[in-house]
């Protein structure tokens, strides 16, 4: 490692550097606070490496441009925030249906609608899960510091390629705009998953939607050796539209199972002092910074407090949360929304009545004091 690898950057820039590390060479986007720096930094960095940056006319176009580019064999990303993420939902559903690897960054801000453009929130957890219509599975990841933003962004690209699916990076305004030290890993330090291309030769029938035994679907660069069809309609293994009930059933099952059956592989988390913790904080993104601060302070005083920091939000790691919380007397979910991850945690644990919420929904970053107040209530000390 050289000094040149150490940077003092915004989370948005850390995400860009990680995307380039993961092999991204195509970005299409549209300005929106608090994600704009991702596009700005891409417009500067991509031409340097011979990549392509396009500023589109809106977010609908942005996601559709990266879908097209991904099909031809490039690693692609777009970045946005709440209102833009809403506009992207149809394209997101298309990428799920047509199984196109891509990464969508949503730097969350206060909502709904125009909401609080410059203030933090974690209110898009369920939009990430269910924003696109129809039954589907989705991968959504997050991180609480810039080093983790870097590694989770590389992970996002790796998962997009592995499962041929869009992956959502759910950052928030604090992570996006805060400046922090980042050490860029040497090439090879973090594994990078490349595009899995078919070994089927030109002129031989290639099935773009026929999974291998391990469930992965090798791709063929669109417009290259094989002629095939891509559609948002329900399709068969050739990619041609079908309303044959068994094809419809099989495709939906495949789209959900390829992610559901790999929850353990997809799950990323960090844990602090969970072994003997009586009270467990569960948090993610920037909120986890305040949660960690409290946990470390209380541990120094001998209190049995621990933190489970989720980095994979979807598919929700129900098994992990159940296991880690088994012995806890109290579980406090720390997040900046009205209880979106709280809901999933309650479904995961044996004693949902032990799960409480420490949140802020006023556009102000949740502080250690906010969490402290909830802990006092739990301990019967009043606020």
């Amino acid at each position: 490692m050289t000094d040149g690898n150490i940077k003092f950057v915004q989370g948005n820039e850390a995400c860009v550097e990680a995307a380039l590390y993961a092999g991204l060479d195509f970005f299409a986007g549209y300005p929106i606070t608090p994600s704009t720096e991702v596009a700005e930094h891409m417009s500067y960095r991509l031409p340097q490496i011979g990549g392509k940056f396009i500023q589109m006319e809106d977010e609908i176009s942005s996601i559709c441009a990266i879908i097209g580019a991904s099909l031809t064999g490039h690693k692609v990303m777009t970045a946005t925030s709440g209102p833009g993420f809403s506009l992207m939902q149809e394209g997101l559903g298309y990428a799920i249906m047509a199984e196109i690897p891509c990464v969508i960054v949503n730097v969350m801000r206060g909502g709904p609608s125009t909401g609080l453009p410059t203030a933090p929130s974690q209110g898009d957890v369920y939009q990430a899960r269910w924003g696109a219509h129809g039954d589907h599975a989705i991968i959504a990841l997050t991180a609480s510091n810039h080093q983790d933003v870097f590694s989770i962004t590389v992970d996002a690209f790796n998962m997009a390629e592995t499962y041929r699916t869009p992956v959502i990076l759910l950052f928030d305004e604090v992570i996006g705009h805060m400046r922090e030290r980042l050490t860029i890993p040497e090439p090879g330090e973090i594994p990078v998953v490349g595009r899995l291309r078919t070994s089927v030769k030109a002129g031989i029938d290639y099935h773009p939607y026929l999974p291998r035994e391990d469930g992965r679907l090798p791709m063929s660069d669109f417009g290259g050796q094989h002629r095939y069809n891509v559609t948002g309609l329900v399709h068969d293994m050739w990619g041609f539209p079908s309303n044959n009930p068994s094809v419809v059933h099989g495709l939906l099952r495949h789209l959900v199972d390829k992610i559901k059956n790999n929850v353990d592989t997809i799950t990323r988390y960090k844990e602090y002092y969970l072994e003997d913790a009586r009270t467990i904080l569960i948090s993610y993104g920037s909120s986890a910074r305040s949660a960690l601060h409290i946990v470390e302070n209380r541990r120094a005083r001998g209190e049995r407090l621990g933190l489970l920091e989720l980095q994979t939000i979807w598919p929700f790691p129900y098994g992990l949360v159940e296991e880690k919380c088994e012995k806890a007397r109290h579980i406090v979910v720390v997040e900046m929304n009205m209880g979106q991850v709280l809901r999933a945690v309650k479904r995961a644990v044996h004693h949902p009545e032990r799960v409480v919420l420490a949140n802020r929904i006023d556009g102000v970053f949740i502080t250690p004091t906010d969490i402290k107040n909830i802990l006092r209530l739990i301990q019967g000390k009043g606020v």
Partner: protein, 301 residues
């Protein structure tokens, strides 16, 4: 004849939260003077969504529907139709959007609305980039400009979209350009647009952005005037999509370099670039003159 009663009517309070020297606020001040108090504004995401201000610093005396970025044309359509249902035909519905919300993300809603010939005035105050998010290029950004998404040697290499011609191609009753440096002409056009009630009217207002264009705030009006004097931004009107009227012919025109050289966003341009841009401006002007020659308004003064 000048209508003094209207001129004394200010639609804006003194003071606003725009940047010093903001051309978009000058545009609003004159527009509301011309339109009067029976006006409703539909403002999508843009600088003016902020400038309109939080209570009690709000700068506007008229009602504002602050709508989603891509929806000015659609929201104004609904508002107008519902007012008509209630028998309110006096109120002028004005969509007031920046260039991003007009040329880019809002173009679909705008095109849809004017094809239906919705009865409102659509104003684009054009500061030639996404200024509210920190100066990213739009399809209104001119050839040669540096923005935060066309940085360094990657300055914008494509021409500005000609929005007035695109709107005129919809054959709407009235499409016009206006400049904050020519307030009499600007207010006349707003009054004319209001009088042409019954269909879609579009006014493209050139509005300097000292912050994004990197000019001193006191150069706001002068910069806008230079755009007209160099023929870069011609003042003209198109009625029913084919009757063209040129309002001002700067003859002889100043070289386009006089306008561009005062702005930081063009600082990197070379003599050869300026020559190319001058050719583009001459070509655009020649095209407009041919249209005026062929389709000039015989009734024009």
């Amino acid at each position: 004849m000048t209508d003094h009663s209207l001129l004394q009517e200010e639609g804006m309070y003194s003071g606003h939260v725009g940047c010093p020297g903001c051309g978009a606020t000058v545009a609003m001040k004159f527009a509301l003077r011309a339109l009067g108090e029976k006006t409703m504004l539909v403002i999508p995401a843009c600088c003016w969504a902020i400038v309109a201000g939080a209570h009690p610093q709000t700068s506007l005396k008229v009602p504002v529907l602050h709508t989603a970025f891509e929806t000015a044309g659609a929201a104004a359509s609904g508002l107008r139709a519902a007012l008509d249902m209630q028998g309110d035909t006096d109120t002028t519905v004005v969509a007031w959007a920046g260039d991003g919300g007009t040329f880019d993300i809002g173009f679909q809603a705008l095109s849809g609305a004017v094809e239906r010939n919705e009865d409102f005035i659509y104003v684009c105050y054009d500061n030639e980039a996404y200024m509210n998010t920190g100066v990213q290029r739009s399809s209104s950004t001119p050839f040669g400009a540096r923005t935060t998404t066309t940085p360094g040697r990657g300055w914008k290499q494509t021409r500005k979209k000609n929005i007035v011609e695109a709107l005129a191609a919809h054959r709407i009753p009235y499409a016009a350009t206006a400049s904050i440096a020519y307030p009499d002409d600007l207010m006349r056009k707003f009054r004319k647009a209001a009088a042409l009630k019954g269909g879609s009217r579009f006014i493209h207002v050139y509005a300097t952005c000292p912050t994004g264009w990197r000019v001193p705030s006191e150069m706001c009006i002068k910069t806008a005037r230079l755009a007209v004097q160099t023929r870069l931004f011609p003042l003209y009107e198109v009625e029913d999509g084919h009757r063209y009227t040129l309002n001002l012919d700067p003859d002889p025109p100043k070289p386009v370099r006089d306008y561009m050289a005062v702005q930081g966003r063009f600082k990197h341009l070379t003599d050869a670039d300026y020559e190319q841009i001058q050719e583009m401006v001459d070509e655009d002007w020649g095209l407009l003159k041919r249209k005026i020659g062929a389709f000039g308004n015989p009734d024009a003064a």
